[in-house]
Amino acid sequence: MPVPILAARDVTKFYGKGAGRFDALKGVSLEIFEGESVAIVGKSGSGKSTLMHLLALLDRPSGGSIELSGSDAVLLTGTTLNTTRNRTFGFVFQQFFLTGGASVLENVILPLKIAGIGSRERKRRGLEALAALELEDKASNRASNLSGGQKQRAVIARALVNNPRIIFADEPTGNLDTATGAVVEDILFALNRDKGITLIVVTHDEDLAARCDRRIYIRDGLVVSTGSAVAA
C-alpha cells in the first residue's frame, strides 16, 4: 500500500481554554494520496478551514498528528518547516490576497522570491505560469486593475509557480460568478490531471465537490463520511 502524501491521525484542535474552550476538531483521521483530488465539504463553522490549516502545516494540532509523506510533521521546525511550506504547498484562498499596488507578475513570483530564486529565473517562470492561465498580457498591470476572475487566475498562477506537490484551495470559487467559477475549476482540475498535483479543495459547493475524486464530509469537527455523496 502506498504511503499517503498527507495524513491526519486522530487530530484534535481547540481554541481558548477553561469555560471558553471551543473544540473545532474532535478527532479527525484521513489520508490523502499523491495525485488525488479531494474535497473537504461541510457547513459553515464545521471546521473545514481549521483542518486545512493543520494539513498545510500553518498551525499545530492540539492532539493527534499530521504526517507528511509518512513522517510526523511535528519534527519539521524552523528553516525546514519554512522550506517545506514554500516547496510543497501552493495556496488559493477564498480572498485573493494580491498586493493591489504591485504588478501582476510581482504578485505571482512572490513564492519564488521567498524561495531565493534569482530575478531572471523568477521572471521566466512567472511569465510561464501567467501564460498557462492566459494572463501574460496582464503581467505588468497593477493587480488591483484586474477583474475578479482574472484575480483568481493570478492567484492560481501564484499557487503553481513554484511547482508545488499539493495545492490547497479554500472556497476557490466562492467569490466568483458561476461562469467564471467554472473556468477556475477547470484550470484547477487540469493541473491535477496533467501535472499530477494533489488538489485539496475546501468548499460547501456540492457541484465542485462532485468533480473531485473523493469527498470528505465534516460536521461539528468530526468526519461524518468519505467518498459517498451524502449531503452535508
Binding site: 524552523g78 517545506t84 511550506r85 513564492p111 521567498i114
Partner: protein
C-alpha cells in the same frame, strides 16, 4: 528570500505610502539638518583655530610664569613688591609674580630647556609716520619662531639687528600709507615715555602688514627682538637692577623634536621649581574646549529632534505592519521566515532614516556653505580664512550612520511585531 530581494522589497514598500513616508522623512530631515549644521560649526571654528595657531605662538615654546605664593587665597592679598601685571592672556587686573634674573637662571638650568627669553613688556605711547598724526598703539614683542598671518610683506627676523615692526592692517591708511605693499619698507616713529615722564622716539622699519586673527590683538604692532629691546631700554631709562629686570613671563624654547611626554616632563620640572609652563596647544586647548562644549549642547538639541523623529518612524511602521497584516501572513504561509520579515521592516526603517539623513545633510551642506560664504564676505571679513561652517566627509558619514542606527532601533518594535505574526491569524477572512 535573498538579502538583495529583502532590501529591494523594503525600498518598494517604503514608497508604497508616499505621504506617510515623506512626513517621516521630513521629521528626520530636520534632526539631521540641525546635527549637520551644528557639527559644521564646530568643525569650522576648530579648523580656524588650528590654522591660526601659528599666529598665537611658536610650536616649540613654553610660556612660563611664576606661580604666586598666595595664588589660592581669596580676599585681599598681602602686598608683594614682586607682583607685576600679567601681560596678555589673563583677565585685566590679574597679577603674576615677576620673574627676576635669578629665576631666568634657574629655568635655564632645567633639563630640556634650550633657551629662555624673558618677555619684555613694552608700552609705547604712540606711532607716527614722519610728521603726521600720532596714533596710540599696543605693541607685543614677537616670540622667536612665531609665524604671523601676513597680508603682505615678510616675517619678522629675531636675529636681525634692524628694528622691525609688523603693523596691523588698520594702521596703513591712518599713517598715510597708500597701500599694504607701499607700506613695506617705510620707516615709522614709535614714541616711548620713561619712568621720569621723558619722551623719546625710536625709528622702526615696517616689514609686514598683518591680518587680523584670533591670536593677534586688534590694533597691534608686533616688534622683533631688536626693536623690543630698544623700546624696553628707552622706557626703563633711569631704572636700575631689580627695578628694571622684572618680567611678567618668559618664553622657554625646547627641542623641536621633543615628544609630548618629554614636554609634559618639562612642565612637571617647571612646576616643581615653582613655575607654570603652557604650550600653545595648552592655550588653544582651552579655547577648543569651550567651543566643543557649545557644539555638544547644540548637538544635544539636534539629537532630541532626532529622538522625536524616531517615534515618527515607530508610528509609520506600526501603521504599515497593520496595513500589511495579510501580506505578512501570506508571506509566512509561503514559507518566509520570521527573521526575514523582521529584516524587511527594519530595513524599511533604516532606508527611511537614510533618506531623511542624506537629504538633511546635503541641504545642510548647501545652506551652511552659502551662509558661511555670505558671512565671510560681510560680518567676518576681518577674519580672513574663517569658514564658519565647514564640513568633513567623515563627520557627515558618521551623522548618516548614527541616524540610520537610530532608525533601526526605532524599527525593531514594529519589525518584531510583524515577525511574530501568526500566519493563520493574519489570514483569517473578514
Amino acid at each position: 528570500m535573498r538579502t538583495i530581494d529583502v532590501i529591494g522589497t523594503a525600498i518598494d514598500n517604503s514608497f508604497r505610502s508616499k505621504l506617510r513616508t515623506t512626513l517621516t522623512v521630513i521629521a528626520i530631515f530636520i534632526g539631521a539638518f540641525t546635527l549637520t549644521i551644528t557639527n559644521g560649526l564646530g568643525t569650522g571654528i576648530n579648523n580656524y583655530i588650528n590654522n591660526t595657531v601659528a599666529a598665537i605662538g611658536a610650536q616649540d615654546v613654553l610660556t612660563v610664569t611664576k606661580v604666586a605664593t598666595d595664588a589660592t587665597t581669596t580676599g585681599p592679598k598681602k602686598y608683594n613688591p614682586d607682583l607685576v601685571a600679567a601681560s596678555g592672556g589673563g583677565r585685566p587686573g590679574t597679577t603674576v609674580q615677576a620673574l627676576t634674573p635669578s629665576d631666568i637662571t634657574t629655568i635655564t638650568n632645567l633639563t630640556g630647556v634650550k633657551s629662555v627669553q624673558p618677555t619684555l613688556s613694552i608700552s609705547p605711547g604712540y606711532i607716527q609716520n614722519g610728521s603726521g598724526t600720532k596714533y596710540t598703539v599696543t605693541a607685543i614683542g614677537a616670540v622667536p619662531g612665531i609665524t604671523l598671518q601676513l597680508a603682505s610683506g615678510s616675517q619678522l627676523s629675531s636675529t636681525s639687528s634692524q628694528s622691525q615692526v609688523v603693523l596691523a592692517k588698520s594702521y596703513v591708511r591712518a599713517l598715510g600709507l597708500s597701500s599694504n605693499s607701499a607700506a613695506i619698507g617705510a620707516t615709522v616713529k614709535i614714541g616711548v615715555t620713561d619712568a621720569a615722564r621723558n619722551s623719546s622716539t625710536i625709528d622702526a622699519t615696517v616689514v609686514g602688514i598683518s591680518e587680523a586673527s584670533l591670536g593677534a590683538i586688534a590694533d597691534a604692532a608686533t616688534t622683533n627682538s631688536a626693536l623690543t629691546q630698544k623700546l624696553f631700554d628707552a622706557q626703563t631709562v633711569g631704572l636700575t637692577g631689580a627695578a628694571k629686570d622684572r618680567f611678567s613671563q618668559a618664553s622657554v624654547r625646547f627641542a623641536g623634536s621633543a615628544s609630548e611626554a618629554e614636554v609634559t616632563k618639562l612642565k612637571e620640572r617647571l612646576t616643581k621649581a615653582g613655575y607654570s609652563g603652557q604650550t600653545v596647544a595648552d592655550q588653544i586647548g582651552t579655547f577648543k574646549t569651550v567651543i566643543d562644549v557649545i557644539v555638544l549642547v547644540l548637538n544635544a538639541f539636534a539629537v532630541i529632534a532626532l529622538l522625536a523623529a524616531s517615534f515618527g518612524i515607530v508610528n509609520t511602521l506600526l501603521m504599515s505592519v497593520q496595513e500589511r497584516t495579510r501580506e505578512i501572513g501570506l508571506m509566512k504561509a509561503m514559507g518566509m521566515s520570521g527573521s526575514k520579515v523582521f529584516g524587511l521592516f527594519s530595513f524599511e526603517a533604516v532606508f527611511i532614516g537614510f533618506l531623511g539623513s542624506a537629504i538633511g545633510a546635503a541641504v545642510a551642506i548647501l545652506v551652511g556653505s552659502g551662509v558661511s560664504a555670505a558671512l565671510s564676505g560681510s560680518v567676518f571679513s576681518d577674519l580672513p580664512g574663517l569658514t564658519l561652517i565647514a564640513f568633513s566627509p567623515a563627520s557627515i558619514a558618521l551623522i548618516i550612520i548614527i541616524v540610520m542606527a537610530i532608525a533601526f532601533v526605532a524599527g525593531t518594535l514594529p519589525a518584531a511585531k510583524a515577525a511574530r505574526q501568526d500566519p493563520i491569524e493574519s489570514l483569517r477572512y473578514e
